[in-house]
């Protein structure tokens, strides 16, 4: 559990994706929901045959609030040697999605791999994918309310948000509010004396 000495959040970036550190992990493309479908179709035509992942992210401090992140890799299905596979190019498409209009077109017809990934982004962030054949919750039970991975959703869930930690304190066999017996210190002294081999006259038993 983070300590009470956590440094203040004043010096943090509201849009970390705008900061481009010197890491050559993928080509980055930022799009809007209106452009994302055309961009991904174009990329697929350019040889990015595999959709690796679709993920979501929540940046409440910036507009648009959400990001849907598509990871693609240019793997050819007819490559049969390690040399032919080579070092395939990677691309990361970041689609900014606003809170009011949290809808993005589906990619399930381009890549069947998108099916569960989009359901998970819907389940955990509440972003809908128009045209998805079966958009329903995948990780949480069907009747769950709320989108857990949003930053305003409490870590422990709304039901337990205010209960004290740790939860085993609630299962103690001593009723809450029982006053201290006042005998603990003496009992401890007796234990220490016994461990030291000293005999102590038993007064408070």
């Amino acid at each position: 559990m983070p300590s009470s000495q956590t440094p203040p959040a004043g010096s943090t970036a509201l849009d970390p994706t705008a900061v481009r550190p010197d890491i050559a992990d993928a080509r980055i493309i930022r799009v809007t929901p209106a452009e994302v479908r055309a961009t991904l179709e174009r990329l697929k035509g350019e040889g990015f045959a595999m959709l690796l992942d679709i993920g979501g992210a929540d940046y409440p401090g910036r507009e648009p609030r959400f990001d849907v992140v598509y990871h693609l890799i240019a793997l050819a299905s007819d490559a049969r040697t390690v040399a032919a596979v080579g070092k395939p190019e990677r691309v990361r498409v970041l689609c900014g999605v606003t809170e009011n209009e949290a809808v993005v077109p589906t990619m399930t017809d381009l890549w069947p791999a998108a099916d569960w990934a989009e359901r998970e982004v819907y389940d955990l962030f509440g972003i809908s994918f128009s045209g998805h054949p079966d958009l329903r919750r995948i990780q949480m039970p069907v009747e769950w309310e709320g989108y857990p991975l949003r930053k305003d959703y409490p870590l422990r869930g709304p039901a337990r948000e205010k209960t004290p930690r740790p939860s085993f304190a609630l299962k103690s066999n001593v009723a809450a509010g029982t006053p201290a017996s006042g005998k603990t210190a003496a009992a401890l002294q007796r234990q220490i004396a016994a461990a030291r081999g000293q005999i102590v006259k038993d007064e408070t038993k």
Binding site: Q139, M140, P148, Y153, P154, L155, R156, G157, R160, K171
Partner: protein
Amino acid sequence: MAVNEMPGGQFFLAKLDDVARWAQSSSVWPLTMGLACCAIEMMTATASEYDIARFGSEVFRASPRQADLMIVSGRVAQKMAPVVRRLWEQMADPKWVISMGACASSGGVFDNYAIVQGVDTIVPVDVYVPGCPPTPDGLLYAVNLIQQQIRQGGRGGILARA
């Protein structure tokens, strides 16, 4: 229990409860309730180095009707909780429950929205095993404690009601 010499031969006298409990404790068959990492250590407890079969748990039954012991091994997610409860209800009496690992006992490392904070909020537990995951030795000790409970007529004994 005692061996008595009587005309006609030797007779072994014992209370029916004791014999029944001895038989029950010697053949506790667990239900395959493997959820997460603890399930792997539970499988390791059935493998040759730890060998739970020497304590009587010869087979793990997949059907709750045929199992005596539910070893909840792993974290219980929100979606899985009603399933665990239903399986426990389907088990025939007498039945016992081991809560294996920190996640099953109290939620473990995961104090969050997704994990049930202790399987004893859904089913009554007889033995808790600490660890993340506990070593298979810990699970074997828990099975031994269940056997002791059975022999002493604890909850789940032949005449007890759940």
